[in-house]
């Protein structure tokens, strides 16, 4: 086992452990904190996969913005009545069964993948961030999704402000 493999197993254990905690823990605020841990673990894996830029974006956007928003939402909605009662709904057995079958199928497929044991080649040399940035603003690459994403953010902004504003004015 190389250092990288040890590191991988370490982070994988952290991610899976905290993911299980997110879906099973009874207290919402705990779930939110476990989510943060899982997101950090994934950022570490991005770094191991030579995607340093995405690792940073993961921390800034997911941990810094999304998870914090979750924590805010938990604090806004957590009244004493909320962490009580059953955390799980009534069809948990059947849901667990479906998930298991789904996972088994997925695993079967993935083990049949020929690239299964392939080692990841190192990505081409050069400044990856510059390449990413160029791809995002080149019409022949990803300019269109980039622009549409900006319109999407505008629409989401209007929507979120509308919903939040209405809630306050009540």
């Amino acid at each position: 086992m190389t250092t990288m493999q040890v590191l991988f197993l370490f982070f994988a254990a952290i991610i899976l452990g905290s993911a299980i905690k997110v879906v099973t823990t009874k207290k919402m605020i705990h779930a939110a904190f476990w989510l943060v841990v899982a997101l950090f673990g994934i950022a570490a894996l991005y770094a191991m996969l030579n995607a340093g830029f995405l690792a940073m974006v993961q921390i800034v956007v997911y941990v810094g913005a999304i998870a914090i928003l979750f924590i805010f939402a938990v604090m806004l909605t957590r009244k004493e009545l909320l962490d009580k009662g059953a955390a799980l709904n009534n069809n948990k057995t059947i849901a667990a069964l479906i998930s298991l079958v789904f996972f088994g199928g997925l695993l079967l497929l993935l083990t049949n993948w020929s690239g299964f044991t392939k080692m990841a080649p190192d990505l081409p040399e050069g400044d990856m961030v510059a390449k990413l940035g160029e791809a995002l603003v080149t019409p022949n690459a990803y300019l269109l999704p980039f622009e549409v994403a900006s319109v999407l953010l505008l629409a989401a902004l209007i929507g979120a402000v509308y919903v939040a504003n209405e809630a306050r004015s009540e």
Partner: protein
């Protein structure tokens, strides 16, 4: 430098996706359901980055970048909705949000 086969990452992402989907199906709390959905999206992102690395391409990483953008937009709207529902119903338990039943 990469001594970890790509399949490790892919299997990890498959497990993570399944955990997320399970969370959506078994939990009653709208916020935790939404967190589980975020786990599913992260699983997909991890798979994309791993595949991208296996194919020595940047395209997968760019897609992840877009998914993160969309996720941020979704979170903004989704959490606003959840908080708004909480204000009227004083609950975000999806089994209790059931004025609508045929």
């Amino acid at each position: 430098m990469n001594a970890v086969p790509v399949n490790y990452y892919i299997i990890l992402s498959a497990i993570l996706f399944t955990i997320g989907a399970l969370g959506v199906l078994i939990r009653r709390n709208a916020l935790v359901i939404f967190m589980s959905i975020e786990l599913m999206l992260n699983a997909a992102n991890l798979a994309l980055v791993a595949f991208s690395s296996a194919n020595a391409q940047l395209d997968g990483q760019i897609f992840v970048f877009f998914i993160m953008t969309v996720a941020a937009a979704e979170v903004a709207v989704g959490l606003a909705l959840i908080v708004a529902v909480f204000r009227t119903k004083k609950s975000i338990d999806v089994d209790q949000i059931n004025v609508l039943k045929g």
